[in-house]
Symmetry: C2
Subunit: 140 residues, 2 copies
DNA sequence: CTTTGCACTTGCAAAATGAAAGTAAAATTA
DNA sequence: TAATTTTACTTTCATTTTGCAAGTGCAAAG
């Protein structure tokens, strides 16, 4: 449990010092879905983040203990990014974002179906997914 | 259910076109907590948003159907901002932000206690709060 | 009828963004 | 082994956004 830097008390304020940015949240979402990504994977993502912005966001998320940089097992030229426990615990927020978007916007069928499944037993899904992701941390 | 504008499918992307900004989320949070606010109320908030930024964010949130501008019952000089149903449905996201911040940052005792209460029966809290807020819409 | 309060708008310097090109090390290919 | 490609960034620079301060215009209060 770190101490908050700037703002003293309001929960959402201190979260948003780190996460109040589209790109940060998209990086987190990608990592929740894929467990790990390389720099190039992020660049290839649908949302087309600029490379300099990606670099600063990755650095910022790492400094704030949300992601960590690891050696790629297959190549020294590659870097693996993974969520830390703190980052994994953002899953409920991302899930709720998904439900909300599903209700008010048009999203693709695959995502819609996935969300419908999750909705059937949200708490269990979140619990087991977080567990799995945190297990993945110990090994890799 | 509106159609998404820019991005076609990914749930979080389309949410973040509207919400991927610290100030937008803080405005939503304020309105969830206080039901309604004037322009001045937002300015007085702890986070110290600049007045021009506040104006553009309010306009943007209104254009996206998340808040609505109403006449103040007591004065023509004042304006009341309230969440729409779409805006009220953001409550789960804000609540999850709160839990996450509570876990990883230092937040004040009052907020901490409130979150602890909510945690005891999160689903009921969210359901009844959303109900209350939506009732408030019909009247006011 | 002047002053105060309220909801903005405007102007401007500073910072952040985004597109494109560049760099350096590692891996692959010739 | 040399040349090329891949990978993860960094740099540059024009454009956009931010943040601060001051201003505007209408409503209400004194």
């Amino acid at each position: 449990m770190e101490k908050v830097k700037k703002r003293s008390d309001c929960p959402i304020s201190c979260s948003l010092d780190v996460l109040g940015d589209k790109w940060s949240l998209l990086i987190v979402r990608d990592l929740l879905e894929k467990q790990q990504s390389t720099y190039g994977d992020f660049l290839k993502a649908e949302e087309k983040i600029a490379t300099n912005i990606l670099a600063t966001r990755l650095q910022m998320l790492e400094e704030n203990g949300i992601i960590s940089k690891l050696d790629h097992p297959e190549s020294k030229a590659k870097v693996l990014y993974k969520l830390t426990k703190k980052g994994i615990d953002l899953l409920p927020i991302i899930v709720e974002f998904g439900f909300w978007a599903d209700k008010y916007y048009t999203i693709d069928k695959g995502k819609k179906a996935a969300l419908r499944e999750i909705k059937k037993d949200k708490e269990t899904f979140i619990k087991t997914t977080i567990q799995d992701l945190k297990k993945g941390l110990e090994k890799g």
